[in-house]
């Protein structure tokens, strides 16, 4: 019976009925030519066909984890497929709106800890004939980036392939090694805990390194105004999702000599500004976003290879500026500066700095912390690379893949996006109470892009 390392169990301990710690994904598929009205049902049947479930998807906590202390993973021999793989339907008229309502409900309910910590819904009833698949898996099992990668591994580039297996039937790969750490922010809290532990003991050592980096590089550690996005959260969620053409965003980036990520952040900035103005809740100070990034790095003194390193930067969103182009400019500058500083650091230093920046996330389960502390940043914006080609699952073409991430006390809104051929798929998850009318952010994102296109299209 494998011992569950504290870096896993922290996600179980931190979870309460108000803070489910699972990550999810909502995929859309266009069924292959000639498939009938029972296509979703056939997919469900195919997904339940084999008993050869990979160990990861048979694992659950040995005992309910309710307090501090060690726990163990138990691995079930048999998986109750009727429970884990669910056939669902959207009600009439079967628009994306109804699908998003269902996704919001599913993502707001807790996984049963007596069973392997995952669920998959195959959804029919969309008016345009597409099929949706909503999956969720607990963060103690895989982080958000790994979850999205697992979903991708189930797909094939071949539209004729009919032997695609769902993620739980795929042969298991090893966990991400520390050389290629995950882009997932919660994974970084975990990695930070690992590294800080490796170095000296606990947080003080990390703090010391970070302070050194800050002094040497003359960094002003990011600050963020308190907003309605940074208070305690309730148990219910609201999810919204939409796709944008990568060409549109690339065009703005090219004309304005910025990056795709800068333009995405400028869309987020414009959208948040418009949304908070509507709510009469825009802070005077500029808001900031935490953005996980991947960097090519030099080795460090401990002989650790550079390779691809992952860190977190906090970018000024310039939400105090009225003009979209000005916001893009400031975002690009802030982002460049943060990356430059990280480029001069060793992987260990980066991890330590990232861990310090994210330490407040780890503090959120402490009662009262969020109510009084200033947030370390206002929103998390993650961009997870996706497939570059058209992908298929047993002939059904992938037509959307929206990450559904985690919100916690202090971070009531999370924006995660992923790419696929030609499109950026954006998933917004928020606390249903602290982020009212979350879906309006979709229109504001579009408006912000359209404004940038006027100057840079």
């Amino acid at each position: 019976m494998p011992f569950m390392p504290p870096t896993d169990s922290m996600f179980l301990l931190a979870e309460s009925r108000e803070h489910p710690m699972h990550v999810g994904g909502l995929q859309l598929f266009v069924p292959p030519e000639g498939s009938g009205p029972d296509f979703a049902r056939e997919i469900v049947a195919a997904m339940r066909q084999s008993d050869d479930v990979s160990p990861l998807f048979r694992r659950h906590p040995k005992a309910p984890v309710g307090s501090l202390g060690n726990t163990w993973w138990a691995t079930d021999d048999v998986v109750d497929f009727d429970y884990h793989v669910r056939h669902s339907a959207v009600p009439r008229p079967g628009r994306i709106r109804e699908l998003l309502h269902l996704t919001s409900r599913w993502h707001g309910s807790l996984l049963d800890r007596h069973r392997p910590l995952w669920e998959c819904h195959v959804v029919e009833g969309l008016e345009d004939g597409r099929i949706a698949v909503y999956s969720k898996i607990h963060h103690s099992m895989v982080d958000g980036v790994a979850a999205i990668k697992l979903m991708q591994r189930a797909l094939s580039e071949d539209p004729e392939a009919r032997d695609c297996l769902p993620p739980w039937l795929l042969p298991q790969r090893e966990r991400t090694e520390s050389g290629t750490r995950s882009l997932d922010p919660w994974g970084m809290v975990r990695s930070g805990a690992d590294v800080v532990g490796e170095l000296a003991g606990l947080v003080p050592a990390g703090l010391k390194i970070a302070q050194q980096v800050v002094r040497d590089n003359d960094i002003t550690l990011p600050r963020a105004p308190k907003t309605i996005l940074n208070g305690p959260v309730g148990g219910a969620r609201r999810f919204a999702a939409q796709s944008w053409s990568i060409d549109r965003i690339q065009q703005v980036a090219k004309s304005s000599a910025t990056t795709l990520n800068d333009v995405v952040l400028a869309m987020v900035s414009g959208a948040l500004r418009a949304y908070l103005l509507e709510q009469n809740a825009l802070p005077d100070e500029p808001m900031s976003a935490m953005v996980p990034i991947s960097l090519a790095l030099r080795g460090d003194s401990a002989g650790r290879e550079g390779g691809n390193q992952v860190g977190a930067i906090v970018v000024n969103l310039a939400t105090d500026r009225e003009n979209g182009s000005t916001r893009l400019e400031e975002i690009s500058y802030s982002s460049k500066q943060a990356k430059k500083i990280m480029g001069d650091m060793t992987p260990t230093q980066i991890l330590a700095l990232s861990a310090i920046q994210m330490a407040p996330l780890a503090m959120t389960p402490v009662p009262g912390y969020v109510r009084y502390a200033r947030p370390p940043f206002n929103v998390i914006v993650s961009n997870v690379p996706g497939p570059k080609e058209e992908m298929y699952f047993n002939g059904a073409r992938l037509d959307g893949m929206y990450p559904v991430s985690i919100v916690t006390d202090g971070q009531a809104l999370n924006i995660t996006l992923t790419s696929r051929k030609g499109f950026l798929d954006v998933g917004l998850i928020g606390c249903r109470r602290s982020v009212p009318h979350l879906q309006r952010l979709l229109q504001h994102l579009e408006d912000a892009l359209a404004e940038l296109e006027k100057s840079w299209g």
Copy 2:
């Protein structure tokens, strides 16, 4: 801000992610002539139409109740109808089976304590064109019997009436007075706590009264063998439901000179016997059922009026007997004896005895209790009176009304039934893990009735 009495908050305290303490109901309706495919949607719109929500349905705990201690009710001014009243659909082929799967999922998830503790799903997509309504409400707000009555109050005998209001828009009635205590078993745990409190203080006083009653009446306090139905439960549920013609059951009762309730218990007995034989888990000793009953009683020395009093009897189910008629005979005898004893008791004595019999239910949250203690009875069978006439909701005819009750550690199966014109509607709720293939009990119930009909039909 009203203080929440401990008899309410115990249901919040006792609740964990494994033991949701809400009660529910699944109703089926035949839409009126001429209604179109958007009938369910129209019902949802009508249910969300008024903001005049009764205070009960705007109430939630002031702070999440996580430990012993007092708490308060808060009453929201505005209810987020999009959250509480949900439009849902069963997937193809839209049989009752798919509806029961959905109900199982809904009943297994916890209510959000930041919001008024209720939800209502209006479900379309059944192949026969019927509409289903699944409602759930937390037991700290109303008990199971009151919940079923609330659902009934929304209905009209007039098929032409189009002004029916859903339960949350109905004017609120006062809580059940102690003179007409509820038939709900969990309500009785509550009532018992009340009465025992009134009398002397805590459990010892109740125990003393009960011991006296037992001595005076020479009662053998019921015992029950430990079965697979009496262990710890997980978080997932399975729900099954079916209707039986009251005429069939009455015919057996009449011919065998027993009561309708005796025949129902004989059906339960035969079904449990067949089910446990299949599972290779039938105990040698006879199993027993706890049955809430309503009695007309004499007054007591404290000047309390008799009126309709409610108590709990434990009936021998005679599951060790092979012959259905023999089981019915023993059940009838056991039931008569228990009622006779209660008939000689004062209301206070009945409540005290009932409370003692049910005290183990109140003990279930104590860690380890269920694993080692002998169960006080093997299963709870409640019969809640329903409407005697055909009932309608805005023209849609009620065609089924299945209670969805609570399971807890030690009581992994609950059977609750209610009547309507011509039918008994039976709802079986069980822990998905401890009660595998729960739906098979439906066939076994039918087989048990058919066997009795051979002798007494």
